[in-house]
């Protein structure tokens, strides 16, 4: 087996960094979206559902291209950021955003399943005992949706590890900076001589994914049991 170069270890490190950052970054928004979709009645709820699930159905390159248009110098939020001196395209931040957007529907889905499993009587009880809606959210809903949160996070983490299409468009393939495992494999796979390193990285990727998916299964079962 070929030994890995320093840029390959970089790729593994970057993959982990991006996956962790994307998951942590998405958690508050995912939680808010899941809360709104599960507990709050409002007009246009269907629109929110569709928006949240959209990245799941679009090809990742399409997601990446839209992100490029939005966050690039010429896009609306992008030009504001560029004026403020913040550059997103072709940086690690863009890779995190790409993974966050692509994995968001998975996070919200798991969270919703967890939240829907919460006995509505508990929420009624909490309100009548003097808790206003955000008190109930923090003291009852959050702790009880914890298994769903963990399950969703691990799923999102696994998805981030495999993110390619959106990442390569909006973050570029920059070794040591944004080249995650899938991008490194792509690089090696295009070369006739890179086959064995590509395979080695593939195996590393599979190993990490298996570990994370096992964890997810365990947690999902706990949610189903209603613990």
């Amino acid at each position: 087996m070929t030994s890995l170069m320093s840029t390959d270890y970089d790729a593994i490190r970057l993959s982990a960094q991006v996956a962790i950052a994307a998951t942590l970054f998405s958690l508050p928004y995912g939680f808010a979206a899941a809360y709104l979709l599960t507990f709050v009645k409002f007009r246009g709820k269907v629109l929110l559902e569709v928006l949240v699930n959209l990245p799941l159905t679009l090809p990742p390159v399409v997601v990446g291209y839209f992100l490029l248009l939005l966050l690039g110098k010429n896009g609306w939020p992008g030009s504001l950021l560029s004026d403020a001196g913040i550059r997103l395209i072709f940086t690690l931040k863009a890779a995190v955003i790409a993974s966050a957007v692509v994995g968001f529907p998975l996070l919200v889905r798991s969270l919703r399943i967890g939240m829907e499993g919460i006995d509505p009587q508990l929420i009624k009880a909490s309100r009548t005992l003097g808790a206003c809606w955000h008190d109930t959210l923090l003291s009852i809903i959050l702790p009880l949706s914890f298994p769903g949160l963990l399950a969703g996070s691990s799923l999102m983490f696994a998805r981030s590890l495999g993110e390619f299409g959106a990442t390569i468009i909006v973050a570029g393939n920059i070794p040591g900076v944004t080249q995650t495992i899938p991008l490194a494999i792509y690089d090696y796979a295009s070369s006739p001589t890179g086959g064995s390193t590509a395979l080695a990285l593939c195996l590393v990727s599979v190993a990490i994914s298996l570990a994370v998916l096992f964890l997810h299964e365990l947690l999902a079962r706990r949610v189903a049991r209603g613990e």
Binding site: F90, P175, G176, D187, S190, P192, G194
Partner: protein, 247 residues
């Protein structure tokens, strides 16, 4: 033999026999920087020799070689460096007798005006696009130049890898990078990106485009005919028009 089995056998034969283009068809695998020039040459030749279809596949020379190795149909292969032609030769996929030189080129740095004016200026930039050295000759040439200029360590985390030289140029055009290492001929095609400086020739080997018929292509009459045309003066005139060097 049942219907399903016959169908499967038919498909199998079709797929395995696909390593060579059918009659009246010439499959070309050419470096990405040759896109416009090869298109024009094949159109010119087709006008005088109708009835032949030209299937063109442009990309990074290394990637193209990998495709041919894995059975993609190809009659003529034109690489942007000697390394990948040697590799094809080693794998016994090139018709050795036909190997010759197509043309030459120069490496330049292109980007928005004012970004840089010499190799040393590169260290001040944030993002530089090069073709991935693992498969794109332009990227390999650039890496060579960095090493010879002693800048490779400093440029380490600034390099955005592109899948071929055209993608490089696109990054520069879109402003996603400060500049890109492309061939002079590519830069001439660009709109927004301008040639900022030419890479000093002593820093990298001469950009040479070897060309050859593949083993399969040597048996293709139409391919051989077109291959002959590529050596002609008419072809050299078109190359010069696009900015390629012929000696």
């Amino acid at each position: 033999m049942g219907h399903l089995q016959r169908l499967l056998l038919y498909l199998f034969v079709l797929l395995t026999a696909a390593s060579s283009a059918g009659a009246g068809e010439v499959a070309l695998s050419a470096a990405a920087s040759l896109k416009e020039v090869i298109s024009e040459l094949s159109d010119n030749f087709a006008k005088k020799n109708p009835g032949v279809k030209y299937v063109k596949n442009y990309g990074a020379s290394g990637a193209l070689v990998k495709q041919i190795e894995n059975g993609a149909p190809s009659d003529i292969f034109i690489s942007a460096n000697l390394e990948w032609m040697d590799y094809l030769k080693k794998k016994n996929l090139a018709d050795v007798a036909s190997i010759g030189t197509f043309t030459y080129n120069t490496l330049v740095f292109a980007g928005a005006p004012g970004k840089a004016s010499s190799m040393q200026d590169l260290i001040k930039l944030e993002r530089i696009a090069i073709g991935s050295p693992k498969s794109v000759p332009a990227g390999e040439y650039a890496m060579e130049a960095f090493k010879k200029a002693g800048l490779d360590k400093q440029l380490e985390k600034k390099l955005a890898m592109a899948k071929d030289v055209r993608e490089c140029l696109m990054y520069a055009e879109r402003g996603e990078v400060d500049g890109a290492f492309v061939y002079k001929t590519d830069a001439l095609q660009a709109n927004k990106a301008k040639i900022l400086f030419t890479v000093p020739q002593e820093l990298y080997p001469r950009v040479t485009y070897p060309m050859a018929l593949t083993v399969a292509g040597a048996k293709n009459k139409d391919a051989a005919a077109f291959f002959g045309y590529l050596h002609s003066d008419a072809a050299k005139a078109v190359l010069t028009k696009y900015g390629f060097a012929i000696h």
